[in-house]
């Protein structure tokens, strides 16, 4: 028990890296999700085409490949230095899960009954007002459980940043194991438990979201 606590306090040095990347990546994933999701339901075929390409490319390749690609390629290809690996991690995760979550936004918006749009047109609401007052408030409830699930995916995805040299929970877990080989199982178990503890509120959120969305839109 002593060594378990020992390990936990050692691992907690990486907690802030994990949590900060998780929070930032979640924030930007949502931004991308709404931006791309709404772009995919507009009339303009060019806007729709470009966003569809973004979504399909990021959903079609894998997060770890995208992370390495950004890590190696962006500085070489565009001569931009993203500043720090922290940003590389955040951007890779946000682009990846933003693409997945934009599908949630798109399909929820499309699943709101067409009669709602028609009634809003009949009341002469503009396109933006229809989206803001009528469609989105109803679509949001449908998105909740999926968003909860994707936030768990984002958390799991943050473990990859140790591969580009960031000092997150997993990084400290690796260091601990390599210096205390026989305590390896306990070290990784503690890493898993730390991730699980962070995930618990998200699990709760997605279950809660499921209930809300099942209840339907009526107040």
């Amino acid at each position: 028990m002593d060594s378990a606590l020992n390990i936990l306090s050692y691992l907690s040095q990486g907690l802030w890296t994990t949590v900060s990347i998780f929070l930032a990546a979640t924030f930007f994933s949502f931004v991308m999700a709404f931006f791309a999701g709404l772009c995919r339901v507009v009339k303009n075929p060019l806007v729709r085409g470009v966003t569809t390409a973004y979504v399909e490319i990021f959903r079609g390749t894998s997060l770890i490949v995208q992370l390495f690609w950004l890590y190696y390629a962006v500085p070489m290809l565009f001569g931009i230095n993203l500043g720090s690996n922290w940003w590389v991690g955040v951007i890779a995760i946000a682009l990846n899960y933003g693409a997945y979550m934009s599908e949630v936004v798109r399909s929820s918006v499309l699943s709101v009954d067409e009669g709602q749009t028609e009634a809003a047109i009949a009341l002469n609401l503009s396109r933006v007002q229809r989206m803001r007052h009528v469609i989105l408030p109803q679509a949001l409830r449908l998105m909740l459980p999926e968003f909860g699930n994707y936030m768990i995916q984002i958390l799991k995805g943050t473990a990859l940043v140790s591969l580009i040299g960031l000092t997150d929970i997993l990084y400290y877990g690796d260091i601990y194991r390599s210096t205390n080989l026989d305590e390896g199982p306990l070290a990784y178990l503690m890493v898993l438990i730390m991730y699980f503890i962070i995930a618990l509120p998200l699990i709760w959120l997605s279950k809660k979201g499921e209930k809300i969305s099942k209840k339907g839109v009526a107040g």
């Binding site: 009954d113 009669g115 028609e118 009634a119 047109i121 009949a122 009341l123 002469n124 503009s126 408030p137």
Partner: protein
């Protein structure tokens, strides 16, 4: 007097299905028109085109002399954009078969939404007007209720109040009683009867209620296979027409016991 709406050779097809094959119709201010006809004859489509919910595939619709679906840009005629359509929509209101109330908003919010967001009215003023309209349809005690807590008849009355707050020149009713339980039809017709008697606006009702059409309509149109096959005073069309298709429609209708 100038007609408030004119249909000129209006056509509409969905893919290969020609729903409207050349509609010519003038609607006068404050005229009450009922449109009857068999399923698939294009009744609902006629009013959906006017509400800008669907675009005609041919012909012109004029509202107050202005072309609804076309606009002039630098001397060229183009399909109307949102702004052009929005300028006309203020004059037209519509009540739907399935009510289409906004389920996430209270009854009162349903009615104030167009006032505050389209007409930029301030909230107190909007609420006063909305309450007045809700009172008028007999729902003065339900302001804070959500649509889910109302009966079908009550929902439809809210939908009418919501359309009324905009004070449209033309009000469209799309089979507003056909989704209701039979015992709830009366309360909705009562409101329409009241509007027909006391309001100046033109009204177009797509309906299956023959007796009701006979009672309130100045004019009845019989729509058949995409054209207006009969048009005239209600009594002439429903009781005196010799058109065999209309006779058959009315016969089938009555034998179904729906009237």
């Amino acid at each position: 007097m100038e007609p408030v709406v004119q249909y000129k050779e209006v056509q509409k097809s969905f893919g290969d299905t020609h729903v409207l094959k050349g509609i010519n119709l003038d609607i006068m201010p404050s005229e009450k028109i009922a449109i009857i006809g068999p399923s698939g004859s294009g009744k609902t489509t006629i009013i959906r085109l006017l509400m800008t919910l669907a675009e005609p595939t041919g012909g012109d619709i004029l509202v107050d002399g202005k072309n609804l679906w076309k606009m002039e840009v630098n001397g060229k005629t183009k399909t109307a954009n949102e702004k052009h359509l929005g300028a006309v929509r203020d004059d037209i209101g519509m009540v739907f078969q399935h009510f289409n109330l906004f389920p996430h908003k209270t009854i009162l919010e349903n009615c104030t939404l167009p006032l505050t967001s389209v007409q930029k009215m301030d909230k107190t003023e909007a609420e006063a007007l909305a309450k007045q309209m809700l009172d008028r349809v007999g729902l003065g005690d339900k302001f804070e209720a959500y649509p889910a807590n109302l009966s079908g008849g009550q929902k439809q009355r809210v939908a009418m109040a919501r359309a009324l707050v905009m004070k449209p020149k033309i009000m469209l009713f799309d089979e507003v009683t056909s989704a209701l339980d039979p015992e709830l039809v009366g309360e909705v017709l009562e409101v329409i009867r009241d509007l027909a008697a006391h309001e100046d606006m033109a009204m177009v009702l797509v309906t299956h209620e023959m007796e009701f059409a006979l009672e309130i309509a100045d004019r009845v149109l019989f729509l058949d296979e995409g054209v207006i096959a009969e048009s005239g005073p209600a009594d002439d069309v429903i009781n005196k027409s010799e058109n065999p298709r209309l006779q058959e429609f009315l016969k089938r209708f009555r034998s179904n016991g729906q009237s």
